[in-house]
Amino acid sequence: MKVMKLNSGVKTIAIMIYITLMINCSYKPIPTAEVNFLTGKDGTITMRAIGVGTNIDDATNDAENNAINVLLFRGLPGSDQKVALIGTNEAEEKNKHPEYFNNLYKGKRYKTFVMSSIPTTDLIKHKGGKKSIAVDIKVNVAALRKDLEQNNIIRKFGF
């Protein structure tokens, strides 16, 4: 009887270790800023962004997300938008306007500012099951800026 109890205890521990290992080894997207400027004209900017995901759609969405994120919180060297549209402290800015950013990212509202999104590579597999894709993304920066102004995320031009 005692041996039975010991065996079930060992089994439980083994299962727990297995689950912990699985969680640690599972895919976790790492935030990247692999976004580079290609061209820009009349209030639009075209960028090449890398996105990661389990399939093409996921990876493309991630690339678009990265592109918008870079414009909002980092700025894109080489383009007209060298400085971040909002500011570099994204945690603070997102805390200030949680509803807007929830809608923008989780509600996928950022897609309304993406004019085109063209994959330039196939889905590339990496070690650990990670897959990535390079996408050329054209963003309507003028509309994005206006939207931020109208929602009082940034000030209008002037004081």
Partner: protein, 299 residues
Amino acid sequence: MRYLTLLLLPSFSCFLNFAICQNPSTNSAGQVITVQPKIMAIPYTKEGEDLRTILEADENKRIALTKVKEGFDSRGFTTVDFVAKLKAAKDNNIFTSENQSDIKSQIIDMSGADVYVQSEVIVEKGQSGNSVKLILTAYEASTGNSLSNKVGESGKFYTDDFNKLASKAVENCIEDFLNTIQEKFSDIVNNGKSIIIDISFDSNSEYTMSSEIGSEGLLLSDEIEMWMENNAFKNNYHLQGTTDLKMIFDDVRIPLKDQATGNNYNPNKFALEMHKFFRGLGLQISRNIKGSTIYLTIK
């Protein structure tokens, strides 16, 4: 008596409305809109060049100027029209063409512009193609503080359409130019607007900056600086220099909004505070304000 009180109450409230409140027809219900800077785009002129003939004769300069204004319009900002001001000045015969630099500064003064944007168009012709370069500079009119500087290039093309090249040169730098100005505006919103304070003495004044004054018997210049230390926005001021007869603060920051009431704040209100300070020291002053410069004369 009760009826009399009831009759008198509405008329008393009407009187209060007139005496205390804002005019009902203009009442904004406490809403305060920040006063925006006035921006004017002007062409660059060399010494001795006539602004009017330069602009009227050179369509490239006119195109560049229009494209610059278009850039501001696209950000929802209205600029003061230089050509309209020039025409008004011409109609009123305010200026003569004798001294061009004076005309430019007079137009800036007359327009009340806080910021002026100067555009210089350089046309380059060559065997490998023609191009237009554009130098855009934005200054604060009163202090001369630089707000943004960019050079735009059209790139070389085998074309004689310089209008298009000028347009292209502006397009290539205007967004970056406006973004830099906006960064400086953000700095002004956060750290205050820059003003100049010039303090001098009337020729008949018995005081100098070395006069011992106030209850502590400190030098007048020290009293002034101590006041400035306490009253400049975020303790941000720069003293250009002090002599016995003059004291100039070439950069004193004042807030855009009154910190107590939230209403718009301006150099005139700061000058009023200085007036109170001098009166507290037992000094009589006269004050003049031109744009963002306060001239105080101690009598």
